[in-house]
């Protein structure tokens, strides 16, 4: 993992607008596989900064390195073919089918026919548009959300290590936008691109970014992880831009896993009720979580349940739906705690194995940081 994209003192002054620097000595480094969301008020220079990376806009001073190479030394066409490009207004080619749209750059790069077909079908699968149904259709037959998924697939077709995305979901309605964001993050887990993602929406920037690059009047105000931006805003401008609901935004961003308390009181389902009683007394707890021999959640027992006669706790335990996966947001966690009114929620992994419990005070503690 090395630095994939590096901007060094990059400045842009448009001819005819010499008195303003559209981008003013912008510097930052991106690691391979990172998403950097570039955010800021309209006109702050996001698009300009992004388009200098694929040289759609010539740089005035400073330099941009991709994988250590100065882009001004590379052939423009070759450079652009190695960078995926997605714009807000999508810009699919209306005269070409979906398949042809996606195949554009691989074709120009001279890939062979089978290789292209395989790639196009693979990408259509990834973006959840079955190839048999969509490959021969034309852009005009698709919804805005579907078109933008094709736009993303087209940008990824030639396996570029870097992608530039200028407000890619900006023109999509809120419900579909959220869906596209989630889908895109899932794709990113598989493809691990280095991405510059421009948005004017701070919530989107927080959700999508590993790093956030916050600009104002062409200048970098803060370059930080979403958590850092929320907890340590560099100045008043950042504080205002992020908004008064910083704590709620953090609840959304943080995962249950970060706030849970591990090693909860558990008991195997084939233990005796006597053992359970003594454990409850010893731990001064109200409940014991009952698990099977692979630590999978089965239910719980409390003093009342233990008054019944049985050989194993498994026979007298109570079932529960007060649990949730570790990858859920703290917001969901908190909501579950209030819904079930139990004081804590059991945290499980994908196989329903018990990982810990989430309590209100655990959430409060992490938010205090």
């Amino acid at each position: 993992m090395g630095t994939m994209l590096s901007l060094q003192e990059v400045t842009k002054i448009y001819p005819g607008a010499e008195h303003i620097k559209a981008v003013d000595s912008l510097s930052f480094d991106l690691e391979e596989g990172e998403i950097c969301t570039m955010v800021g008020p309209s006109g702050c220079g996001k698009t300009t900064a992004m388009k200098m990376v694929n040289r759609l806009i010539p740089i005035t001073s400073g330099k941009i390195l991709i994988d250590g190479q100065n882009i001004s030394r590379l052939d423009t066409i070759e450079l652009r073919r190695s960078i995926g490009y997605v714009i807000q207004n999508i810009g699919l080619f209306p005269n070409m089918t979906i398949g042809e749209n996606i195949a554009t750059i691989p074709k120009l790069k001279g890939w062979d026919h089978d290789q292209i077909a395989e790639k196009v079908e693979g990408l259509l699968e990834i973006i959840n548009l079955p190839p048999s149904e969509y490959i021969d259709r034309y852009p005009k037959e698709l919804s805005g959300g579907q078109q933008q998924r094709i736009g993303v697939a087209r940008a990824m077709a030639a396996d570029p290590p870097i992608m530039l995305m200028d407000e890619p979901f900006g023109a999509i309605d809120p419900i579909n936008r959220e869906h596209l964001q989630d889908e895109f993050l899932k794709i990113q887990e598989k493809v691990n691109k280095t991405i510059v993602f421009v948005t004017h929406d701070i919530d989107e920037a927080i959700k999508m970014g590993d790093k956030i690059c916050l600009l104002k009047d062409g200048k970098l105000v803060q370059f930080a992880s979403p958590e850092e931006l929320l907890t340590e805003p560099a100045n008043e401008f950042v504080r205002d831009f992020v908004g008064g609901d910083r704590t709620l935004k953090r609840l959304n961003l943080l995962k249950v896993k970060a706030a849970m308390c591990p090693d909860p009181p558990v008991i195997m389902k084939d233990e005796s009720p006597e053992k359970a009683k003594s454990m409850l007394n010893e731990l001064k707890a109200d409940h014991l979580i009952v698990v099977d021999n692979e630590k999978r959640l089965m239910g719980y027992v409390d003093q009342e349940a233990l008054t019944k006669k049985a050989d194993e706790v498994g026979d007298i335990m109570r079932s529960t739906d007060a649990f949730l996966p570790a990858s859920s947001s703290l917001k969901d966690g908190l909501s579950e705690i209030f819904t079930h009114d139990v004081g804590y929620i059991i945290v499980v992994d994908e196989d329903k194995k018990v990982l810990g419990v989430l309590r209100e005070d655990g959430i409060k503690e992490i938010l205090r940081k």
Binding site: K51, N54, L56, T76, I77, E78, L79, R80, R81, S82, I83, Y85, I87, N89, I90, G91, L92, F93, P94, N95, M96, T97, T104, I105, L108, Y138, P139, K140, G151, R154, A155, L164
Partner: protein, 254 residues
């Protein structure tokens, strides 16, 4: 057969049948048929000449017009684009007879003959080139800026963008210009005989001079049929060359 099948079929057959009936009726009423049969060799010669005038002036106007229209959209030339468009629009407003007269009057000034097939072709060419230039220019200009930006950003060269994106997407508009030009040429071609260019105009003007409706119809009816022939041909061509992705519903159904 289903009404769904019969109806479009009727829609096609009725106009064709109507045209045939009108042609037969015109020929009968004015005695054009007799005249044509009596002068069959001359008829064929005039038809050939007419086709020659139309095809040659179409081909030259088409290639020059599309070429010029494209050049006007290229970097560096685009500044002149709108100025040229103004000229083109003024030019197009000159009536056919005016263009023919201009050829007759101007060519001798350049030391060329104002009489014959060549001046006729030159006149037709100049008259037809305007709508093609205009539509090619407008068609390429109308290709969405987002589409061009996406193509450029992805790493397509200007030539690849021109041939794979701009021209294919401008094609319906370009073809519209070519159809207009063809209509103009087919409509003006009879005037060519006024400066010795030949063609079916010869019978039309003879008919007018002799006040003989038979001769006039023997020239006018084939001219009208040739106009329809070219328009149908181009409509067919358009459906073949224009991508289904940008064809409108109605002419997919047509």
């Amino acid at each position: 057969m289903e009404p769904k099948v019969i109806f479009p079929l009727l829609k096609r057959i009725i106009p064709v049948a109507a045209i045939i009936l009108i042609v037969i009726w015109l020929y009968q009423v004015y005695g054009a048929l007799d005249y044509t049969i009596k002068n069959l060799p001359e008829f064929f010669r005039l038809v050939l000449e007419h086709f020659f005038l139309v095809i040659v002036s179409m081909a030259t106007a088409g290639s020059v017009g599309v070429g010029l229209g494209i050049i006007m959209t290229r970097k560096g030339f685009d500044r002149f684009g709108s100025a040229i468009m103004v000229l083109v629009n003024i030019w197009q407003s000159i009536p056919s007879l005016g263009v023919i007269a201009l050829a007759y009057g101007f060519l001798p000034l350049l030391g060329l003959s104002g009489i014959g097939v060549v001046p006729a072709l030159i006149a037709l060419f100049f008259h037809a080139v305007a709508p093609i230039v205009r539509n090619t220019y407008a068609g390429i200009q109308s290709v969405s800026k987002d589409v061009i930006e996406a193509a450029t950003g992805m790493g397509m060269t200007p030539n690849q963008i021109l041939f794979r994106i701009e021209i294919p997407n401008a094609l319906p508009v370009i073809m519209g210009g070519i159809r207009t030009a063809t209509a103009i040429i087919v409509g003006s071609a009879p005037l060519a005989c006024l400066i010795g260019g030949g063609g079916l105009g010869f019978w039309i003007f003879t008919g007018i001079a002799l006040m003989d409706m038979g001769i006039l119809m023997a020239g006018a009816v084939p001219v009208a049929l040739i106009a329809m022939f070219f328009d149908t041909l181009l409509a067919r061509l358009e459906r073949i060359v224009v991508s289904a992705g940008i064809q409108t519903e109605e002419y997919q159904a047509a």
